[in-house]
């Protein structure tokens, strides 16, 4: 167990490699109750959200969600989050645990009088069910068919004696769902899912290796208040029309990028770790933000910020790992190319 955003979280159950493999080939179950859920309602909710968030909110259909960033005035990332449109004037934000209190305070300070903000986190449980067989295994547990849901689409679903909100999203790169339901039902639903022996619990350790293989950002590593999201997303998840807090800094970085996040692949299994230094022909060019052995590839991979001029696919860089240099090549993301997330 480890402390994570104020929660005691399991790093592993059976073992990180076994849990990783199970998620890539069958179905893994992730206890994600630590993440926060906010609801914003009212006639001005959409305008407030567009000012607070970088992604397009006004064009969300009911039952659709988008991923993006919440920035401060300097363009630093307060959090990365998902915004769902639940109804005509009703939205849900899903936020990181460690940033929840700061998010809540920031949002509250920037609301119009026509928007009601509610922190629903204590009352909502979240379980992620992820893997190529997730749909079939979930249907076995639910005893009924799931609707055909598109990627980044969600809808209410009655099953196991409770009302769930089922979202076809995830953090693994494989097909899967994020289930939201009343916290009072969490233990019962967790047990019902694990009664299906094809579904196995997966801890934070494999959650990290799975997301790293896809190149998905982890707040505190690839995203923080230290820089705008431009170096990480290269403009992705940021709407062109602007109109959000932090826009000036984002535009500055878009026009004049100093550094980019790159994907590094090593020949060996020797893993670089966060803060390891990266060199180009002997000159320091940046820093690793996440690194691990990739269980699917059988070699070490890393994400690193490097100077924009060196951020070219195919470039060979050197990473200093515990005093020794290891070469690594910049490759295209994702590292793992067989992900089934989109179907």
């Amino acid at each position: 167990m480890a402390e994570f955003g104020g929660w005691d979280m399991p790093i592993q159950y059976e073992g990180i490699l076994a849990e990783h493999e199970h998620t890539r080939t069958k179905t893994g179950l992730f206890d994600i109750c630590h993440m926060g859920e906010f609801e914003l309602t009212g006639p001005s909710a959409v305008a407030d959200l567009e000012r607070l968030l970088t992604m397009k909110v006004s064009t969300l259909a009911i039952g659709q969600c988008r991923y993006g960033f919440m920035l401060n005035e300097q363009g630093g990332v307060i959090d990365d989050l998902t915004c769902y449109r639940l109804g005509e004037e009703r939205y849900m934000l899903v936020v990181n645990a460690a940033t929840l209190d700061g998010d809540s305070a920031w949002i509250s300070r920037h609301l119009s009088s026509g928007t009601t903000f509610t922190d629903l986190s204590d009352g909502i449980a979240k379980l992620d069910v992820q893997g190529p067989t997730a749909r079939a295994e979930l249907e076995k547990v639910f005893g009924k068919k799931l609707q055909d849901l598109g990627y980044f689409k969600a809808e209410p679903f009655q099953c196991l004696g409770t009302e769930m909100f089922v979202s076809r999203t995830g953090y693994t790169g494989d097909w899967g769902y994020e289930l939201y339901f009343p916290a009072s039902e969490a233990v019962r639903i967790w047990r019902a899912l694990l009664a299906n022996e094809n579904i196995k619990p997966v801890g934070l350790g494999a959650r990290d290796t799975l997301r790293l293989e896809m190149g998905y950002s982890l707040y505190g590593h690839e995203l923080s208040t230290d820089r705008t999201p431009v170096a990480t997303s290269r403009g992705g998840f940021i709407r062109k029309e602007g109109g959000f807090i932090g826009e000036a800094a984002v535009r500055h970085d878009l026009e004049n990028p100093q550094e980019f996040l790159v994907a590094l692949e090593f020949d060996s299994k020797r893993a670089a770790r966060s803060h390891d230094k990266v060199f180009f022909q002997g000159v320091e060019t940046g820093m690793v933000t996440s690194g691990s052995v990739s269980p699917s590839l059988g070699k070490a991979v890393a994400l690193a910020f490097v100077k924009a001029g060196h951020a070219v696919v195919g470039t060979v860089l050197d990473v200093e790992i515990r005093g020794k240099m290891f070469s690594a090549k910049i490759v295209e993301l994702p590292f793992y190319k067989k992900g089934t997330a989109r179907g």
């Binding site: 990180i16 490699l17 350790g205 299994k269 020797r270 790992i321 515990r322």
Partner: protein
């Protein structure tokens, strides 16, 4: 947690088996369990002279890398080359197939500074208690 009686133990979770003047060194069951899946091992060069407490190897799991220290002074005379392809042998068999290296012992008195199985088991219990808090 297995702690065989015929071995000596270091506080840093290495075990040591003495046969004449050759000491075989590995990491304990407690250590491999804490590290979880081991994915990479860096072993010392044969012939290297080491002092007790020197960093001589690195054992890396999915989670983190850990230094392995020489429990006694001497010369590295052999390494377990099979670990390069199968580092997970340390998880499966920490006291046998998962040994790391052998040292020709220079100072026999170094062994007196190590712990017995009983003392080591006790120190692990204390460490586990601290983690529970």
């Amino acid at each position: 947690m297995a702690v065989p009686n015929d071995l000596y133990y270091a506080k840093t979770h290495e075990w040591l088996k003495i046969d004449e003047n050759i000491a075989t060194v590995g990491i304990t069951d407690f250590a491999q369990n804490q590290l979880s899946d081991i994915t990479f091992v860096e072993l010392p060069d044969v012939g290297r002279e080491v002092e007790a407490g020197d960093e001589v190897a690195v054992v890396e799991s999915v989670k983190a890398a850990s230094d392995i220290y020489a429990p006694v002074a001497g010369t590295i005379v052999e390494v377990n080359a099979g670990l390069e392809d199968s580092p997970d042998m340390i998880n499966a068999s920490p006291y046998d197939a998962g040994w790391l290296f052998k040292i020709e012992v220079r100072k026999e008195e170094d062994v007196d500074n190590l712990m017995s199985a009983e003392e080591y088991a006790e120190s692990c219990d204390e460490e586990a208690d601290v983690e529970e808090d």
